[in-house]
């Protein structure tokens, strides 16, 4: 029972890793959507 620290560390890495990856995906998605909005705006202004 004295190895709880290891269990905790492993969990932290797994969840931290997955959440971080999902977070970066979200970030990238947001940047792309922003880009798209901007593009559409320019398009409608020109067209």
């Amino acid at each position: 029972m004295d190895y709880l620290g290891f269990l905790f560390a492993a969990n932290a890495f797994v969840w931290g890793g997955i959440i971080y990856y999902v977070f970066t995906l979200k970030q990238r998605n947001r940047a792309l959507e922003k880009d798209l909005e901007l593009l559409k705006e320019t398009l409608s202004r020109e067209g």
Binding site: Y3, F6, A10, F13, V14, G17, I18, L25, N29, T42
Partner: protein, 238 residues
């Protein structure tokens, strides 16, 4: 290109997938931390295995997908397969990293050392390097058919190396057997039914997560393509 209907349908599908993945992970967490009994010899640390093994399975599966998509790409030359291979390699490397991190954390209390040059560990490490190199190759070259072709060749070459690496590392170590080492097969043998069920749930949850992440990643790449296309068309054709 995707029509708006297809996008909506995709979103509906993916929201179902999100819920399923979430529920599966909830079930897995309950099973791992509450339901499953603590293993007698290894103690509480053994619970790491319920993440470790699914992550390993997931990364191998992801690399296999890279292999298949690489072959399909070279055959059909469709950008679609290139996107799948790229997304799968990225996810595979993420989970392979998790395997390499959780492994030593488990090994330290059980084997008494962070790292042992055991066959399985060694081959996982080499695998990780191969696919990191794959992603580096992609990052090094500019978007286009060259990048896709080179990556596909590496995806094929890398996967074919796995059995060779496996045997070479296995025989390499067989000459200096380490009495302390318990291969992960050894753990599986004496498993109770409850442990097996927990592992099963966890495997399901991770597999669902893979498909969820793939979906997101692939859609992202396609969106990027779409934006680039729009940029080109609007800015060049005036």
């Amino acid at each position: 290109m995707m029509s708006s209907d297809a996008v909506e349908e995709n979103e509906e599908e993916s929201s179902i997938l999100v819920w399923m993945t979430g529920l599966a992970f909830l079930a897995a967490i309950i099973a791992i931390f509450i339901y499953v009994p603590t293993e007698r010899t290894e103690g509480v640390v053994q619970r790491i295995m319920y993440f470790h093994i699914p992550s390993a399975w997931l990364s191998f599966f992801a690399f296999f997908v890279v292999f298949i998509c690489s072959i399909l790409f070279l055959w059909k030359k469709e950008r679609e397969w290139d996107i799948y291979a790229h997304a799968s390699a990225e996810i595979g490397v993420i989970f392979c990293s998790l395997v390499l991190i959780t492994g030593p954390i488990w090994a330290r209390p059980i084997w008494g050392a962070w790292w042992v040059w055991d066959a399985r560990l060694t081959s996982t490490l080499i695998l990780w390097i191969i696919y990191v190199a794959y992603l580096m190759l992609r990052a090094q070259s500019e978007a286009g058919s060259m990048r896709a072709r080179y990556a596909a060749v590496l995806g094929i070459v890398g996967f074919l190396d796995i059995p060779l690496i496996h045997f070479s590392v296995l025989w390499w170590r067989a000459f200096h057997p380490q009495p302390k080492v318990i291969s992960s097969e050894g753990i599986g043998k004496g498993m109770e039914i409850g442990m097996l069920a927990t592992l099963g749930i966890s495997l399901c949850a991770f597999t669902l997560l893979y498909f969820l992440l793939m979906g997101v990643r692939v859609r992202q790449e396609k969106l990027k393509d779409e934006i680039d296309r729009l940029k080109r068309e609007t800015l060049y054709s005036s």
